[in-house]
Amino acid sequence: MTLQLENVFAGYGAGDVVRDVSLEVNEGEIVVILGANGAGKTTLMRAISGLISRRGRIAFDGDDLVRLSPDKIVRNGVVQVPQGRGTIVDLTVEENLRAGALARRDRSAVNRDLERWYEAYPRLAERRKQKAGLLSGGEQQMLAVSRAMMSRPKILLCDEPSLGLSPKLVQDLFDSLKSINNEWGMAMLIVEQNAAIALSIAARGYLLEVGEIAGAGDTAYLSESDAVRAAYLGY
């Protein structure tokens, strides 16, 4: 169940933001994409999810995602935790979680999953009947992750999950992602600016600069690389 991008181009009409990107995420693996503002990280994520037009090949589970509509991509198990958390503010916490399972038909298993995530994040259980817009940033991020997991994905795409969270919450969040990876064998593609924390849980990483892959390697290699150190780790 490898996600494999081959020579992917994507953009918003006038020219490509992402150019000739090839990368892969293997089964059960956490892969991070590091890049500065405007490097095309979010564009790449939106391209995989089918939210924007793209060319090239995005192979997953025997399908080419480039040919599929966004809802088919979700139904194939490629699910995104969108940047800014994508909270549906006027639905309650529980309705948000159930919305994550929109594509599923196995009602009783959905209810069991709901209890699992309440168990994992008791704060969400306490607030299950509250409008999700009233949650704190950290709680909304928990909601975003568990909502994505409610769809029983095969691979999770996380678009800058650390955005707007305090350092403590960022640490908690990445611990949580790591534990989901451990417990479920969940493959993840994480896009981040916070290189240190992302590299701490990833196996491999890619460097995205001005829309193109500028480097790749395992985390040890990336942490030592001068380009990453200077640009993202600050030493």
Binding site: V74, G86, I88, G100, L102, E115, E119, I180
Partner: protein, 398 residues
Amino acid sequence: MRLTHRRIAILEGSPVHIGLRVFRAAAIVAVVVCLPSVFAPFRITQVTGACTYAIVIVGLNLLSGFGGQISLGHAAFFGLGAYTTGILTVDHGMPPLLTFPISIVLAFVVGAIVALPALRLRGIYVALVTLAVGLIFPALVSRFDSLTHGPAGLFGVSYDPPHSLSYFGGFNGATLWHYWLVVLALGLVCLVARNLVRSRFGRAVVALRDNESAAVVMGVRRTASRALIFGISAAIAALAGSLFAVTNGILTPDSFSLLLTLYFLAGMVIGGTATLWGPIYGGFIVYFVPVWATDLSGLHSGTNLAGVFLGVIIIVITFALRTGVQGLLHSVTGLAFELRPRTPSASGAFRKSRVDRAAHEDRAAPADETIANGRDPGSGDLPDGATRPVRSDATPRL
């Protein structure tokens, strides 16, 4: 609003809560049943008219309130239903009841088709497409007078009460019959709307309104959902139109002008956008404010005064009461009562339930686990151990 005095707490699902709900339902039924014997026939006709408006607003609220797409063309769908029933009964002798499903299906199809170009657009442009529909409809009705009888009007639409029932046999039989038809239709439409909003499709529609790209990456089919909700909303408007045709008897193109759509939108906002009861309040308010304004000022300046009243109400709602009459009633009952949800949030009991317990599982069970309403949502559903997604020691408290 932070309240310092003690409110009466009602647990969700408790006998008191169920009792209150039963009482409310009984009170509504009592009012509906007794109303015809209390009011004069002309008032019953007015209530029928208000309920007709309410039906359209229920549908409009699904599209614009829950779905976030403004429609300036709902008078056209209302008119489409009215003319479908009018033409089929008067010119083709069809029984009225048979024309209702035809107008519903027709409006659903037209609504979904109108929605398709609108889907490529956003915000104000969607409203402009529906505005075009709203403007074109009366012009088409006037133009194709061989079909619609044109500006002269289509007369004699009627739906006679079943004379076998003595209840409808009296002098006001037709008035009562119309009243019951429309009230029952309103009840039915409200039920459909309630179930729709609470369904998986309802959540998808709200998700598309609140955060479109997040909704799409959750697997919501954007085009299909938007077209479907538009079709449903138009179909409900057409049902109201069919009822309007048989209760009113006369149809003219002027009856379905853009102004009527604005009344529907005003009713939605005043009653309470994206609420379930709001459209009913809204329907009555936008129907009766012009009636009272006319009583107040005589026939000449009546409509203008109605506009003033509605305008003031809308301004007040916009600034002070974003959730309309429904929101106001909700806050008023909230002063005295407090509905505690099934999962207690205040007691703190749940906070100590599953995850902490998982950590302490092999020790003695904590004794302080009391859950106020006696149901622990976390217990008993899962076999302990292996299936847990995130181990307690690894679970962060964000």
